[in-house]
């Protein structure tokens, strides 16, 4: 398929394409979700969700399926209605405004281009709905296609475009109406890995250049962390934590966030006094907010642990995964606990399968969670 082969060059070229005239950086619009609740039968899709998005910000809503992230997006779009709560766009409640009057561009997970129109007409559709003249809207649609690097495909119909190209046209179409808010509903999850990576960068570059307030729904943590200004992790219809990607990773507020974002080891620990826990024979401080009594696990990142070969150490190497600069070493500790530890690949070389090693942890405060049976 030639369409796919072209993907790489055009996607790269698009980022460097000149900024289309008349679509320069706009004043972004602030968006607030206030206490949104929505139930489908007995299931609460949203349970009092609140979120404030700054003008021009890209917020990713991240969570497992069924956590309510898509429902939240669809309520903002006007395709779904909240049982209670309100959505403020630019300070005004839009609850009573139909989707067609909300001025929001949306890119869907499934391919949503109109099959009966070519790429250019697809992009021009929103402008046509806004009664823009034919010449004017074709010109503008052409500019947007150039912006996503698809000018040569303007006359092609959706079935002649690859999946990645279709989503880029969909993005151009959503941006053509100069939306106040851009809504992205897992726009990359139907694409293959390589295209996904390129499109991720392209969306982010365009969004930053245009300064459009954007909500991006995804279940892919890597996508969320790499693209968003802030990531909101959702669970059971609530925002569990919203923070910048780095903060989310290094100081997750809850055990759920910690385990959903990145890889986490669980090590059985023992609460040994106010604010301290004993794990691997070491006493360390506990980050506030966790349980203060009962059986607990200590949560540690693979890079937060140390490992070194040691005769009579506390574990045995049971697996190695080469990840490039680092190697992830799996170690079986006494008590049948397995941990994964990231080690610079050079250091990991002597730690072959079966090597006795000593796993340790730095003295930084740790996160604890109720023990999972």
């Amino acid at each position: 398929m030639t369409a796919k082969a072209n993907e790489t060059e055009t996607a790269a070229a698009a980022v460097n394409a000149p900024l289309a005239a008349g679509s320069g950086p706009r004043e972004g619009t602030p968006v607030s979700l206030r206490n949104l609740s929505r139930a489908f039968g007995a299931t609460k899709a949203l349970d009092g969700m609140s979120l404030d998005i700054a003008p021009g910000e890209l917020v990713a809503l991240l969570g497992p399926s069924g956590c309510g992230k898509t429902t939240a997006l669809r309520i903002v779009a006007g395709f779904e209605f909240a049982d209670s709560g309100e959505v403020l766009v630019g300070g005004r409640d839009v609850s009573g405004v139909p989707a067609s009057k909300r001025d929001m561009g949306m890119v869907f997970q499934s391919y949503s281009l109109f099959p009966n129109m070519n790429a250019l007409d697809n992009v021009a559709f929103g402008l046509r709905m806004r009664k823009m003249g034919t010449t004017q809207r074709r010109g503008k649609a052409g500019e947007l296609l150039e912006m996503v690097g698809l000018s040569p495909q303007a006359a092609q119909f959706p079935h002649q475009l690859s999946g990645g190209q279709q989503q880029r046209v969909a993005l151009a179409r959503a941006l053509a109406i100069e939306p106040r808010v851009l809504l992205l509903d897992e726009p990359l999850s139907a694409l293959d890995a390589k295209v996904r990576l390129q499109l991720r960068e392209q969306i982010r570059t365009l969004q930053q250049r245009l300064g459009t307030t954007t909500i991006f729904v995804t279940h892919d943590q890597e996508e969320a962390l790499s693209m968003a200004d802030r990531v909101g992790v959702m669970r059971n219809g609530k925002l569990e934590q919203i923070a910048e990607p780095a903060e989310l990773y290094t100081s997750p507020a809850t055990a759920f966030v910690a385990e959903f974002v990145g890889t986490m080891n669980r090590l059985p620990g023992e609460l040994s006094g106010p604010g301290t826990v004993t794990v691997l024979g070491v006493s360390v401080a506990v980050i506030e907010g966790g349980p203060t009594s009962g059986l607990v696990d200590v949560l540690l990142r693979p890079e937060g642990l140390t490992v070194a070969p040691a005769e009579g150490g506390n574990g045995i190497v049971t697996g190695r995964t080469f990840l490039g600069a680092v190697t992830r070493v799996a170690v079986l500790l006494s008590g049948d606990t397995e941990v994964r530890v990231d080690v610079p690949s050079a250091t990991a070389a002597p730690m072959t399968l079966g090597t006795a090693v000593q796993v340790g942890l730095p003295a930084a405060p740790v996160l604890v969670a109720p023990r999972e049976s």
């Binding site: 989707a99 067609s100 109109f114 099959p115 959503a174 109406i177």
Partner: protein, 283 residues
């Protein structure tokens, strides 16, 4: 009608490669079946042609009642088509969008007009309709709408199933298009084949319906053919053949148009009831 549909289906969807090679050995049998079927369909036509003779065809057009009854049937077909489309397209779209679970129920409900004999329908209708409506020909169009509903619903439903109605509607909505505009600009162009299928079926139905028209005392084309048969059987048979040819040409025309359209937008090839996705059709 059913035979016609089947024919088209087979003609447009070649068997998968594996099946094709396996069937090569039984090529002779295929011909046997084809010949038997061909004789079955064509022999009566040939007999009718022989019976009518060439002179019969010349006289058809000048026979009193031919023009007026054909014109009445054409007008009835047009009115039936308009009412059916206006009723069924938005309804079916709505069911797809908002009440997908109702599809089964509706499918069952729309079958009723086929299950209930037309005699029962028309007698019932004539009992309850006000005289004002009973005295016009348009009552018949309303009855035909009921008869056409199963065909129209099935065709449109098949067309809508081939596209992602919900996503397309939402995409159009977010771009500022209201529901009416979305149906007109986005949904309709993408179910054009289905609408054409429904059109063929409606036209064929109305041009061929006898029972209701006869009991409603309207001289539609089929009613005229039967009545005139008693006067001059040759011309009557010639008229039947003429009607058959006209319907056939109409059908071919629609199929050709629809196929060209679907080739442009990459939809599947055209069969009467379904729009097959491209991948499942061999090249």
């Amino acid at each position: 009608m059913a035979a016609l549909t089947k024919d088209l289906d087979i003609a447009t969807a070649p068997p998968p490669p594996a099946a094709r090679s396996r069937r090569r050995g039984s090529g002779a049998w295929r011909w046997v079946v084809m010949v038997i079927a061909g004789v079955y369909f064509l022999l009566p036509l040939y007999a009718a042609l022989r019976f009518a003779g060439l002179s019969g065809f010349g006289d058809v057009f000048t026979t009193p009642g031919f023009g007026s009854s054909l014109w009445l049937s054409i007008r009835l077909a047009a009115v039936t088509w308009v009412i059916t489309m206006v009723l069924m397209i938005p309804t079916t779209v709505y069911v797809h969008l908002r009440m997908p679970r109702m599809r089964r129920l509706l499918e069952g409900a729309t079958i009723l007009p086929i299950v209930i004999p037309p005699v029962v329908l028309i007698v019932g209708v004539l009992q309850v309709m006000p005289l004002a409506l009973r005295s016009t020909v348009w009552l018949l169009a309303l009855e035909y709408v009921v008869l056409a509903m199963p065909f129209a619903y099935r065709a449109i439903d098949a067309g809508l199933r081939a596209i992602d109605v919900k996503t397309l509607t939402e995409a159009a909505g977010s771009l500022g298009s209201g529901l009416f505009s979305t149906i007109w600009r986005v949904i309709l162009p993408n179910i054009r084949t289905a609408v054409l299928s429904a059109t063929i079926l409606i036209v064929a139905l109305v041009l061929g319906e006898f029972t209701m028209a006869s009991l409603d005392l309207q001289q539609t084309f089929p009613v005229w053919i039967v009545l005139f048969d008693q006067e001059n059987a040759q011309i009557s048979v010639a008229a039947s053949i003429f009607a058959l040819v006209v319907t056939w040409i109409f059908l071919m025309l629609i199929t050709v148009i629809a196929t060209r359209q679907s080739r442009r937008t990459g939809r599947g090839q055209v069969t009467l009831f379904t729009v097959a996705p491209r991948e499942t059709i061999g090249n």
